[in-house]
């Protein structure tokens, strides 16, 4: 452990990226994510890395994909409107299986909305924002330390699965300062993408999109001797465009299967007093802290309340929610939108067949929940 520091979630996110081995950052200024770019601009040139502020959000997403193809671990950071702009190229990264990490420090929308106001309105967008069926893994940190940890995990996931990974911070998590002790980078478990082994795979035999390597083929760096084609068009195992239905089907299904692999290896969540909880609160991101307090207040009042915290938001840890729904009479879902994560909660909880009732507690005024607001919802659930 290094010494304790008082830092923002955005700084912890940048520290996590550097610790995970990020050596390329393409950025564009936008509130409330800008501190991540500023910190990477200061640090990367000192560690042999590259930072560039591109001419727009689209270009910064494109630049990191290019740098990833050249072999570096890459990241960009954005918020609200900027995330919307990046999404076409996020789909390109998913289709071409280019590892990359996108920090989206969510602000209150829609549109320009509130640049310094907190929101969680991008939960569905993170999963489905780019067109077509595609894999996207997303993590949602609930504290400054969690921003560090989940950014490291996000890089590992991006590299192992060859997918774009979204770190869904929010304005409160990004700007809140907490005392943290960050782990020694040497103690972290770091995953690098699997590359073809020249002693095993000759360049002429290399299949950049080998379907038999289900579901993640080895990825060669541009310039490493494996010359291959990368295209956003439907492509065959060699990477060349194809219009053949069986090849297209095989490709799109293999890409989608990465979500199942993410479910096996990267499904992270926390639970507090859920074992006997008849009132279950499910919260992620900045609402976790007021929710924790509300659950504690409820316990002190003799109410059997518990808290479930998804840290991986996509894929959603629905199987565990389904189990918990068998004990809970009532599930309350506070989120800083008008009901996005709750749709997943409903999907899984109702499929349990248990007579659970689910309440969406939305807040969209650009402010964070108070513990009292969530506690009141718990009390009302008992009536």
């Amino acid at each position: 452990m290094s010494a304790a520091r008082l830092i923002q979630g955005n700084e912890a996110c940048a520290e996590g990226a550097l610790a995970a081995g990020c050596r390329f950052f393409g950025g564009y200024p936008i509130t409330p994510s800008t501190e991540i770019a500023e910190m990477m601009a200061a640090r990367l040139p000192r560690v042999g890395g590259k930072f560039i502020q591109m001419e727009d959000e689209i270009a910064s997403m494109a630049a990191i994909i290019g740098a990833s193809l050249a072999g570096l671990k890459v990241m960009t950071a954005t918020s609200g409107p900027g995330f919307s702009l990046k999404l076409e190229n996020v789909g390109f990264a998913a289709m071409c299986e280019v590892p990359c990490v996108i920090a989206n420090v969510q602000r209150a929308g829609p549109s320009t909305g509130g640049p310094t106001a907190v929101g969680q309105g991008d939960i569905m967008q993170a999963r489905w924002g780019t067109h077509g069926d595609h894999p996207t893994v997303a993590f949602m940190p609930y504290s400054v330390r969690d921003s560090f940890d989940l950014t490291v995990t996000g890089f590992n996931c991006a590299e192992e699965l060859r997918v774009p990974v979204v770190i869904l911070l929010d304005e409160v998590i990004g700007h809140m300062r907490e005392r943290v002790e960050l782990p020694d980078p040497a103690m972290l478990s770091i995953i690098d993408r699997r590359r073809p082994d020249p002693s095993v795979t000759a360049p002429s035999d290399y299949l950049p999109y080998d379907h038999s390597a289900e579901p993640v083929p080895a990825m060669a760096d541009f310039g490493s001797g494996y010359r291959y084609h990368v295209t956003g068009l439907h492509h065959n195992e060699r990477g060349m465009p194809t219009g053949k239905a069986p090849e297209i089907d095989r490709l799109v299904r293999r890409l989608a299967a990465k979500m199942e692999l993410a479910r096996e290896k990267y499904l992270l969540y926390e639970e507090h007093e859920t074992e006997d909880a008849e009132i279950l609160v499910i919260a992620g991101g900045s609402p976790v802290r007021p929710a924790k307090r509300a659950v504690r207040m409820a316990r002190e009042a003799g109410i059997r309340a518990g808290l479930f915290v998804p840290r991986t938001i996509w894929p959603f840890p629905g199987d565990r929610v389904r189990e918990l729904a068998r004990t809970a009479r009532r599930i309350i879902v506070p989120e800083l939108n008008l009901g996005q994560m709750v749709l997943e909660v409903e999907r899984y909880a109702y499929s349990s067949g248990a007579p659970v009732k689910i309440e969406s507690l939305g807040r969209v005024d650009g402010e964070l929940f108070t513990p009292g607001q969530i506690y009141t919802a718990i009390q009302e659930a008992l009536l």
Binding site: A42, G48, A59, A62, A63, A67, L69, R227
Partner: protein, 276 residues
């Protein structure tokens, strides 16, 4: 000097371009220029956007990347900065480079990043069937300008020069050898190079504008091209309707990734405290 056939992925031919298209001629000129430089194939990256011209990299035995519409230069910037030793070439079209990708063109030129950009200008969106582009001449007919095009067109070479490109040239498919020479010089320039290559699209542009077949359109290029040295002696009236070709601008200055390397070296010498 390698034969250009060594640069083709022969297994994926034939190409998708229409009979009479000028793009194959321009691609051959590019490959001859690369052969003259003769870099290791592993160190060459060819990046493109979307459109007819942008299908070229798929046929080439280099590291090749067919990106999203207009964004080739932004992807290429990431590659060049990540691996400055690589020779990065961008192939784009007039719609890809001047409309949806215009912002990336001016900023790549401003940075003077070491990317050689060749814009295949056929004056039209060919892939989608003949819609007007920023380089469609005023008055021409397109499927989205059925009554004649109202907008003046860009001079992309002027745009690239004004934005900071250190090498700018224009050639045509007809003048193939001259085009090869221009691309060769563009490749030899260390900073951002821009070459506009006039192509012909008999199917989606020529036919609709009664310009004749491919041979007639190539003859038009022959008759309307004026070398920049000859053009210097002509009046604006005499140059009306002509296409000025040759090296239009050649002014080497510091390349972007070199500047970045200098910064990194400077920082490694001054070990000072970690920046805030």
């Amino acid at each position: 000097m390698p034969a250009i056939s060594e640069y083709l992925r022969s297994g994926v031919l034939p190409h998708i371009w229409c009979p009479g298209c000028g793009h194959g001629i321009i691609l051959a000129a590019i490959l001859r220029a690369i052969a003259r430089v003769d870099p290791p194939k592993d160190e060459v990256v060819v990046v493109s956007g979307i459109g007819c011209a942008s299908r070229a990299p798929g046929y080439l035995d280099f590291n090749t990347l067919h990106t999203t519409h207009g964004r080739a230069l932004a992807f290429a910037t990431g590659i060049k900065l990540a691996k400055p030793n690589m020779r990065v070439i961008v192939i784009t079209g007039d719609g890809d480079a001047a409309a949806i990708g215009g912002n990336h063109l001016i900023h790549a030129a401003r940075r003077n990043i070491g990317i050689t950009t060749i814009c295949f200008n056929n004056s039209i969106y060919g892939m989608t069937g003949g819609q007007y582009s920023p380089l469609t001449p005023v008055g021409a007919t397109a499927t989205t300008a059925p009554y004649g095009h109202l907008e003046p067109s860009f001079d992309l070479c002027e745009l690239a020069r004004a934005s900071g490109a250190s090498f700018v040239a224009r050639g045509t498919a007809y003048h193939t050898n001259a085009l090869t020479d221009l691309v060769y010089q563009a490749l030899e320039n260390k900073g951002f190079s821009f070459v506009e290559a006039i192509s012909q699209c008999p199917v989606s542009y020529g036919r609709r504008n009664k310009l004749g077949d491919a041979a007639a359109m190539l003859t038009w290029q022959k008759e309307h091209a004026v070398n920049v040295r000859a053009a210097a002696k002509l009046s604006p009236e005499e140059l009306q309707g002509k296409v000025v070709t040759g090296v239009l601008h050649n002014s080497p200055r510091q390349e972007y990734t070199d500047a970045y390397a200098e910064l990194a070296a400077r920082l490694s010498q001054s070990k000072g405290g970690r920046p805030a």
